[in-house]
Symmetry: C2
Subunit: 312 residues, 2 copies
């Protein structure tokens, strides 16, 4: 069960309406204790989404009204390491789901989650990025997401499947794994503060001039819910805060929140050759069509991330 999936369930439970949920998961261990969601009647199925027959069996039996497809190999770095596996695990699992819905005539609404990575290198004059921006993916993960999106559009327009699409920007929040930039920083700083009595913490970073659009995962899952309610089939929606923060400014915020001086040094291994300098999304389409808007300020997200890692 992934990062976004946990928070989606948490949000669903907070609505205080009884709801049947089938969770299909693969290798993330499901700790049942963590899932204290009294309003959700939960069923768990450990199946590889590439296993068409097993997934078909589960879906025909459960007969969902909504599918939130949050499974993915979302690491760009991993996709460079094994592009074939990354591609198949992103694109083919989506096609399997869509084919099962189509051929079994399951009349459900499906959320196809994409990524801001699909845009690739965007000229500064096109920031903030609108959904109409032509796609120029520059890594295998991003290509797989574009292929998934284009297949979803075919299924929506020609097979009349009810599919709403997103391009989701950089997530932030407690429970995010420390292979991502912000939890990795928080973990490093906290560890250093514990062992180090000097007044300044040294942090190893990649390129801290990069500007990204971070959005709290708890706002993301509310956006997903609003799209399942009000999103138009065949339409693509940016899920983003609309605000850009440099990695440098995030480090400054951490420094303020933790009341510690942080100095940075470049770790060459963390520099990617073709990273976008600046990614900021335009969220006016989803705001206009659903009324959703991001609520959680980045400093509040950071505070919660710090609290989460303090408890580890």
């Amino acid at each position: 069960m992934g990062f976004a999936a946990y928070y989606f369930l948490d949000y669903l439970n907070s609505l205080q309406e009884k709801c049947d949920v089938l969770c299909i998961y693969l290798d993330t261990p499901v700790n049942m204790d963590l899932y204290d969601f009294p309003y959700l009647q939960m069923r768990f199925a450990k199946i590889d989404l590439l296993n068409y027959a097993a997934i078909e069996h589960e879906l025909v039996s459960f007969f969902p009204t909504h599918i939130v497809h949050l499974a993915s190999f979302s690491s760009v770095a991993k996709s460079w390491h094994d592009p074939a596996v990354s591609f198949k695990n992103n694109t083919n699992i989506f096609i399997n789901l869509a084919e099962i819905i189509r051929t079994n005539n399951i009349p459900c609404k499906m959320l196809s989650v994409g990524s801001s990575e699909e845009y690739g290198n965007v000229p500064v004059e096109c920031i903030p990025i609108k959904e109409s921006m032509p796609l120029q993916p520059i890594n295998p993960y991003a290509v797989a997401r574009v292929a998934q999106e284009m297949m979803a559009l075919c299924y929506a327009s020609s097979y009349k499947l009810n599919i709403v699409l997103t391009r989701s920007f950089n997530h932030i929040g407690p429970r995010q794994r420390d292979i991502f930039v912000i939890p990795s920083f928080v973990k490093q700083v906290l560890a250093n503060m514990k062992s180090n009595k000097s007044s300044e913490i040294k942090l190893l970073t990649g390129d801290i001039s990069l500007i990204r659009d971070f959005i709290d995962v708890r706002d993301v899952v509310k956006a997903y819910y609003s799209l399942l309610e009000k999103g138009v089939s065949g339409e693509i929606y940016n899920i983003c805060s609309g605000k850009g923060h440099s990695i440098k400014s995030i480090i400054d915020m951490l420094s303020d929140l933790l009341e510690v001086k942080i100095s940075t040094a470049i770790d060459e291994k963390k520099i990617r050759p073709n990273d976008n300098k600046i990614i900021i999304g335009d969220n006016s389409k989803i705001v206009m069509q659903t009324g959703w808007e991001p609520k959680i300020q980045i400093t509040d997200s950071l505070r919660d991330v710090i609290d989460y890692w303090k408890q580890r």
Copy 2:
């Protein structure tokens, strides 16, 4: 062995230089008698391109200097019938080839063939279509081709593989199967002329107002050869005649060449809901960069297609 592959070998042989060729084929029967190419030292291997280990074994043993990847599930109609199979058989076989080349360090130049279908519905003011046109694929075959192309660009830009890309337009020529529009017409008219003594032939058609850019397969394979010689890695080239002909005008040409009156009637089964009205390509990029240009006039292609089907 497909339609374009046969003509590529034929052209290679016509250059009168000794050349070793490994032909990997799947289910098209290889009639060895047909392959009278004295300059080519040919080896045949019947392998499914999805079979990574078997292909890797052949390629490492043969160690090619050039790969012309002409295998595909090229039927748009078939891709609607079984999108998952169509997608895997187009995209995943390309990724397998690229991975084998990358991981075995085979220093070869590869041709990745795409399709004019990738462009989707193009506004009339953007005709003739340049390679810079944003892609809007509207069927699973086209999406698979776009995904193949975007993965090829990743392999070329980041792994530094030597890959030249095409978007090839509608082929015409003898030996093309009669599931395609022109051979299907020629076959119908010839059969009717034989059995029918009236002065007018009735032809069942789809939408004959559609305009397409037909290019003779013998010009196509010369373009592929010129790209293997002079094409720039990571660049995409339209392979097209640059001229548009309506299906109606093709029927008029057939009528003239066969000296018979042809009347048409719509077969509703042949109307596709989302066909592009007009597709004409701009070939100035490949013409400028390689000196190649299409030589065969459409009436000469049609005459050869008629001769071919007369001999059946």
